[in-house]
Point group: C2
Chain length 704, copies 2
């Protein structure tokens, strides 16, 4: 990767003097920003912009570290051959017309893939806008030479984006508004070779980068991405494009990306400790916040003091904080006493700390009420962070950003500032804040969101090196009968077979008997006790509900007989009847497992029963995972309170559910023939979780 | 109100030459902005800022329309007497130190209230920042004379705010950033006399105001506010401070406001067709959007075309739109053909409409791809509005705001623009957009939120004049027995009495029998059929569940006998047993009614059963209301889908629930002794809704 980030010499294949072309912009940006050797390549010119030009890359006398290509897609394969001949280590293809365009483009992209596999030369792109480096000041991109080079500012945030716009116009907007500077901005395009994981692992080692933000439409290898994130201490934020069905459809035509199952991605990202953003500028705001204040100490609870010039802003902040899971700190007596010292006598001290009356009272003096109030709050052990509201451009309001920065650093507590003001003054303050390490936001809700993200704990981020191998002894022993089914079965197994497999892995299943004779019905019913469930079972029939083959709430022996006859009639007398004790638990869950094309084997947990139809509340976690991770996944269910017990139901032991999940994950890892597991419902009560109905789907073809 | 908005002459009581005082700022702002006569009042000066100064207001030789007071609270009563003597029609008290401060301030505020009642002179404030008028250019406020007068811009939005900051620093921020201009900005402070409803009804008649936004911590008379809103065609947007518990606590100390039950306010606002905002700048963005595009025609469905320069922005827009209830339009064939005419041949036409390749292809020509694509989309009958993404300051991107405005007006369809860009260029575009009536947003999510609000239909807004009087014949006749209870009962009625009252109003209640003898138990059980519920009933005992006096799922005669004995034992043999058929419906609801201090009698509907403990999903609607309004209230339940039937349950007839609600509203209106009604659960199935358990609470003291 070094040849992309630290080249000493660059060849621009497709350089041109025509100023409206990308090949000109790349060269011009290099001339403006790059201090190494630059070689324009174009057979039709001897010089471009006063620099000697070569017909092909092989004509360059010296070594070339990086080739940037901006020529028609159809000419790229030949150019790559020449790069190989020249011994170039890295090639960045910025032109488009590949897999995102048409069939011809797809085959050209496949040709590049073959080239990479054959030569080992790394290729970045195609269909991308390359790389900008705010620290070194390099721009390896066809972005407008009149804009970006003149606003590039170094900063602690790096971005990796599957979109040229975000690396160009968007960055110009962010930079010219003084929001933040950047370390690297990487546009990775179609990812034929170098993908988000390659660049991410490089940047997580980059000493100039404190936080990495990504805009992604797909994950080339979700599992590798997750492993990279969970093994790093640097915060990573992802904005996933194509979360919705329509958005996912649009992603296919954009960067030829299959957006995949967003819920799986969301689960995997949370499991890896990755933060999620929902909008572009929010992504940058989350990144600059986490770059300055990486994950909080464990004792940090999200108790916020609000120092404000306005009662209304304090109130609305409190409303927003409640929605975002933050709490208004209860100020300690010592802090109240300190604040009373600067407050007018009639004014009670409370949080939000409305300092306007104090400012009015001390108007004309040298007292900096803002700094005094901020210091008092930051030094309060009951306060974890301060949200400060202020205004720039009004003489009564002192805005000592240097002091806020110093107080934040000396106490180790975040200070986030909502800044209103006259446009020009606010802009100067924004830039000053950026330079001295104070987070300033023009929108209150965004400031509160960023505060909130500081106190989120996504996943538990167990580092790979600290993790116990989950299953040190290899696949779990299971009875020969179950093993036989797993090895030889095809497609969906019926309910009984599916549950027998689950049982063989130690998962509790409901008590049941299969009968075929109506006379067995009464005896079994009396033996099992009411209420009962009766289900018609036929080989190959999975959708029993839709066929009316399930009868619930059977509460008398004669009702059982009637159900038997009704179900048998529907099956034309072929098949058997499964009699089950109807369980009444505290919570109904759905548990399952799938193999995701981007993230591999995943276990799913969802709230079942009536709720399932109403709220789509499911969480995925990629396997293998340990019990702690499973407990975390349960905690990510939006309706997880249901598990705590409410309205008289008992709390459920989350460890029981977690063990259930770990077992499912293990099944998926140990037995690759299992394509899918669907257990619905799992009836949970106190410390038991019982699988009532289940379907296991095996691969369609038998293992040889 | 005229004397506040259109005075010909103004006296400033408390005018001073000390430039750091509010009394100076008010005078200075008048001198800068007001073209009528100005009279500084201060016994210590003969001239201030070169204008003759009077010892008291009565010394002014000419008529005074408006007095603005900025003196210590304790001196205000005397100043008011002088205003009365002078014959002033309106007084604006901007100084603080009243109910928001301390006990002394409270009694001073009460004195003002008495003054208003005695004299009929209207008082605005105290503790406020008065009024700014962007159309006339007036500033009646102690806001910094160096800031606001130099950025005031006329515009279609008026604000009414219970916060000085929002009328000062915040407005300077909005104005200096070119976001929008304002018609009136009114800071109403402690609302001793003139309140939000007074100002709102004035502004809804004001021809310069197209939309009114309010920041409120409380409603002085919620019912009046609702009536004003529902009788106006102009959109009203409210940001309610103190929605959360902590926020409500803070509101008390801010403007002495009791924030009240937010859920009641939210229900009433929705019922009145009022839009809600959650943040300050969002409030302004909603207002400027609704000022330009008032409520959409009825056939407008929210089908959006996205015209973008970037695939990624299109994808993320689609994701956001799905979350906000908007849909990506399916472009008609005609539109696709038009777009194909400007697209490169390899590029398929889809929505989001990514026009960047077309821009690249026609680069150097005169074709304005943006305008062409926008026109094609706006003229498509399948498109209700366009979200356009663009960039300012890049030569390849044409930004013809005049043309966008013309196309929007000629097609009658909204165009909202997400604009990125170089800071200075974007600012010029923002101001140009403001002036030619194009909505520009720097943040994508905000643009989508504003689009979404255009296609929201809060409430149904039936105008009072078109509404049938709900109950033309006065109180409904009910049996003498029920009437007797309603007239003479005190406090909470027991379950049976409560349900008998409901029944007398025509509300279906569960089949039940009260027994005291164990021998009745078996007969009744067999007669009613299983399963049964049995409840212990004792006079004055409301909380049966907590005392273990309810047994459910009784499915056999002997179980009924056992339950009888168990419950009787818990009641020490005193009391009776209520035997009820245990109903199994499709949906459990909670219905109720309360009297809210700000909004009066309200009916509440909520989802019951398991869900109730999990999701706080209740909607209030103020009584009286008709069936259509009740159906709308049901539609505002977040989990309302439950009523549509899912996973095999039948859909429920919303009219049945609506009638139930209308009856409850009528009960509250007709019988003021009913303090509270709580019906939990109401079992709903198909077209029946049955009250199973209920408590009616009557006033504590008997009517004389």
């Amino acid at each position: 990767m070094h040849s992309f980030f630290n080249p000493k010499s660059i060849a621009v294949i497709g350089a041109t003097p025509k100023t409206f072309k990308g090949g000109y912009a790349i060269l011009k940006n290099l001339i403006t920003t790059f201090n190494g050797r630059i070689y324009p390549i174009n057979p039709q010119h001897t010089h471009i912009e006063g620099i000697p030009c070569f017909p092909t890359i092989t004509d360059i006398p010296d070594a070339v570290d990086l080739a940037i290509i901006f020529i028609a897609a159809s000419l790229v394969p030949e150019a790559l051959e020449q790069c190989e001949a020249k011994g170039v280590q890295g090639v960045m293809i910025e032109s488009g017309g590949f897999a995102e365009a048409d069939e011809k483009g797809k085959s050209l992209q496949n040709a590049i893939k073959s080239f990479v596999q054959r030569t080992g030369i790394r290729v970045w792109g195609p269909n991308c806008m390359g790389l900008s480096d705010g620290i070194r000041g390099y721009i390896f991109s066809f972005t407008d030479p009149k804009l970006l080079p003149y606003c590039l500012v170094p900063g602690p945030v790096s971005l990796i984006v599957q979109s040229g716009m975000i690396s160009a116009g968007f960055i110009i907007d962010i930079l010219s508004n003084g929001v933040t500077g950047f370390s690297k901005v990487c546009s990775i395009g179609n990812k034929v070779d170098i993908n988000e994981s390659d660049v991410l692992s490089y940047l997580l080692e980059d000493q100039d980068t404190c936080c990495v933000g990504l805009y992604l439409e797909s994950f080339v290898n979700g599992r590798r991405f997750v492993d990279i994130c969970r093994n790093s201490n640097k915060p990573v934020v992802v904005l996933k494009g194509g979360r919705s069905r329509k958005g996912a459809e649009a992603a296919v035509s954009h960067t030829a990306s299959l957006a995949g199952n967003y819920q799986v991605a969301a689960g995997a990202l949370a499991q890896a400790g990755v933060y999620e953003a929902r909008d572009f500028k929010q992504l940058v705001d989350f990144c600059r916040t986490l770059a300055l204040y990486p994950p909080r100490p464990n004792n940090s609870k999200g108790r916020i003091a609000v120092v404000t010039f306005s009662g209304a802003s304090g109130i609305v902040s409190a409303d927003m904080m409640e929605e975002q899971g933050l709490t208004l700190a209860e100020l300690s007596e010592a802090t109240k006493t300190r604040l009373k010292g600067i407050f007018p006598s009639w004014m009670p001290v409370a949080n939000p700390v409305d300092i306007w009356p104090a400012i009015e009272q001390h108007s004309g003096t040298d007292l900096d009420i803002y700094s005094l109030a901020l210091e008092a709050c930051l030094e309060d052990p009951e306060v974890d962070a301060v949200l400060l509201h202020t205004f720039s451009g009004y003489t009564k309001v002192k805005l000592d950003l240097q002091e806020y920065s110093r107080l934040s650093r000396s106490t180790g507590k975040p200070v986030l500032v909502w800044l209103l003001g006259n446009r020009e003054k606010a802009f100067l303050a924004q830039k000053a804040a950026r330079d001295c390490g104070v987070l300033v936001f023009p929108e209150l809700s965004r400031a509160v969101e960023c505060l909130s993200i500081l106190f989120q704990r996504p996943g538990i981020m167990p580092k790979s090196e600290h993790r116990q191998p989950e299953f040190p002894d290899g696949p779990q022993d299971i009875p020969a009968e179950a093993l036989d089914i797993l090895e030889k079965g095809i497609g969906p197994l019926d309910e009984q077979a599916s549950k027998s497999i689950l049982k063989s892995f130690g998962i509790p299943t409901v008590e049941e008997t299969l009968i075929t004779d109506p006379h067995e019905c009464k005896d079994n019913a009396t033996h099992m006790g009411f209420p009962l469930v009766m289900k018609g079972v036929q080989p190959g029939i999975v959708h029993k509900t839709e066929l009316g083959l399930i009868e619930l709430n059977i509460d008398r022996p004669d009702a059982a007989m009637q159900s038997f006859e009704r179900i048998m009639l529907k099956m034309n007398g072929r098949g058997s009847i499964l009699m089950q004790k109807q369980l009444k638990g505290d919570v109904e869950l759905i548990l399952g497992a799938i193999r995701d094309p981007q993230f591999g084997p995943c276990v799913m947990i969802g709230i079942g029963g009536t709720l399932a139809g109403l709220i789509d509340d499911t969480v995925f976690t990629i396997a293998p995972f340990n019990k702690e991770e499973a407990v975390n996944a349960i905690g990510r269910l939006r309706t997880q309170e249901i598990i705590n017990g409410f309205r008289g139901t008992k709390p459920v032991d989350r460890n029981v559910i977690a063990s259930f999940m770990v077992t499912l994950g293990r099944m998926m890892i140990d037995y690759p023939r299992i394509r899918e597991i669907d257990i619905n419902p799992v009836i949970v009560s106190g410390n038991s979780a019982v699988a009532v109905d289940a379907t296991i789907v095996l691969s369609d073809c038998q293992v040889q």
